[in-house]
């Protein structure tokens, strides 16, 4: 299994967000986490990406642990292991969170430049390939404000794919898109799964759940 999540528990103060969540996602699989607003779907995704800390539970990708239970308490990995874990998971935010002062291509190149794990040529080549694959090659020098919602999302997907993570998460990918663009995004997501990525999609959009034809985890009642 690529991603294994076991016994995940999370509260904010006295408010329980989710309890005893178990799931796995394998290479090429799509897991759709559905549920109404306020059921903790986004919080779960944030926990997988270490933007929130769990109260209990363990998460691992390809055997590399983000956290595990030890003596009833959650124990997070050391700094170096966290870095390695981060490279194996990507997140496309609901509102994309593109860097507004950078062009589409600069958004893609920022992380590889920092991590210094590719040559300049490799970075350029990968960025161009991804932009072409997502059909936005002509937008590489555009700033986010010059792009439509759907184009911004494609840039966000390309940015998350730059480091070739094993797992890619999507938070409400169709919430701000029209029906046609939604169809294109679901095709892109299925395409990424076909290339071997493990995909986790959080959504309350029942049409998208059907289109993605993945495993479904329902949160809440």
């Amino acid at each position: 299994m690529t991603l294994i999540a076991e016994n995940l528990n999370k509260s904010f103060g006295d408010t329980l967000v989710f309890k005893d969540i178990f799931f796995t996602v394998d290479k090429g699989e799509i897991l759709v986490i559905k549920g109404k607003s306020g059921q903790g779907k986004t919080t779960l995704l944030r926990c997988l990406n270490y933007l929130e800390v769990l109260d209990k539970g363990s998460i691992s990708i390809n055997g590399k642990y983000l956290c595990k239970d030890a003596d009833g308490k959650v124990q997070y990995a050391e700094k170096e292991d966290l870095k390695a874990y981060r490279l194996d998971i990507g997140l496309v935010f609901q509102n994309y969170n593109l860097f507004p002062h950078m062009t589409a291509k600069e958004n893609l190149l920022l992380a590889p430049k920092f991590l210094d794990n590719m040559t300049e040529e490799e970075m350029e080549k990968r960025a161009k390939e991804l932009l072409a694959q997502l059909d936005i090659s002509d937008k590489e020098n555009s700033y986010p404000y010059q792009l439509s919602g759907g184009q911004q999302q494609r840039v966000a997907i390309a940015r998350a794919c730059m480091l070739n993570p094993s797992v890619l998460c999507f938070d409400e990918p169709t919430s701000a898109l029209d029906e046609e663009t939604r169809g294109q995004i679901s095709k892109i997501i299925k395409g990424l799964a076909n290339q071997g990525m493990a995909i986790i999609v959080v959504t309350h959009d029942s049409s998208l759940v059907e289109e993605l034809e993945g495993n479904v985890l329902t949160m809440g009642k």
């Binding site: 990507g90 860097f99 002062h101 920022l110 920092f114 986010p144 404000y145 480091l163």
Partner: protein, 216 residues
């Protein structure tokens, strides 16, 4: 004519002081204020508190008093016992004072950036420092430029406070010539010099702001 024969060379000498104080304060205060703003936002409560007190003192007392304290009073502090020269005291007081004001502007600017920008940097694996320098700071600078511009213009006028330590800036030159010839003309002339400096600065600041207009 006699008035200007005396006033012009004195104004040129005074300009060295006025522009010198202005430039050294600006060049050192701006980078320092970014560090101070970060310290003010530190998770370490003691650090944040100490920086908060420093900002409170600098913003809560007149710059004139700070100049006097640093020049006349600093060496009375036990253990330190160091006496600043006039020019050192001026530089220290102006830098400390303006760093405090600039730091609060930068703190507001940093807080105004959507937390999603930091989160996006985090999930991309960027370090906090790299994310701050490449993602957050460029956006902060765009947002704070109008407020920084305001302070920069105030700084030009505040340089006239150096008279309290007997240092001759352009305003003191005007006063000396005015006393000699019993005329108000030198003050009008120096007023125009200030306006000219501010006009140049306004143009420069407008250009800097325009440079950041390439994105929204």
């Amino acid at each position: 004519m006699k008035v200007f024969n005396m006033l012009l060379p004195m104004t040129m000498e005074g300009l060295k002081v006025t522009l010198g104080v202005f430039l050294i304060t600006l060049v050192l205060s701006v980078p320092l204020s970014i560090i101070v703003a970060k310290l003010r936002m530190s998770k370490n409560k003691l650090v944040a508190k100490i920086v908060g007190i420093y900002i409170y003192i600098m913003r809560g007392t007149p710059l004139l008093l700070q100049l006097m304290f640093i020049f006349f009073g600093f060496h009375y502090i036990p253990v330190i016992g160091y006496a600043f020269s006039r020019h050192q005291a001026i530089a220290v007081a102006f830098i400390l004072n303006y760093t405090a004001y600039f730091s609060e502007i930068f703190r507001g600017g940093i807080n105004s950036i959507d937390v999603g920008q930091t989160e996006a940097s985090t999930v991309l694996g960027l370090s906090k420092r790299y994310s701050f320098m490449k993602v957050i700071l460029p956006q902060v600078i765009k947002n704070v430029m109008p407020s920084i511009g305001n302070e920069v213009i105030t700084l030009v006028k505040d340089t006239s406070l150096v008279y309290i330590l007997g240092v001759a800036d352009i305003l003191k030159a005007a006063k000396a010539v005015s006393n000699t010839y019993s005329t108000f003309v030198p003050y009008i002339f120096i007023g125009l010099v200030y306006l000219l400096i501010v006009a140049v600065l306004t143009k420069v600041l407008d250009n800097v702001e325009a440079k950041f207009n390439y994105y929204r």
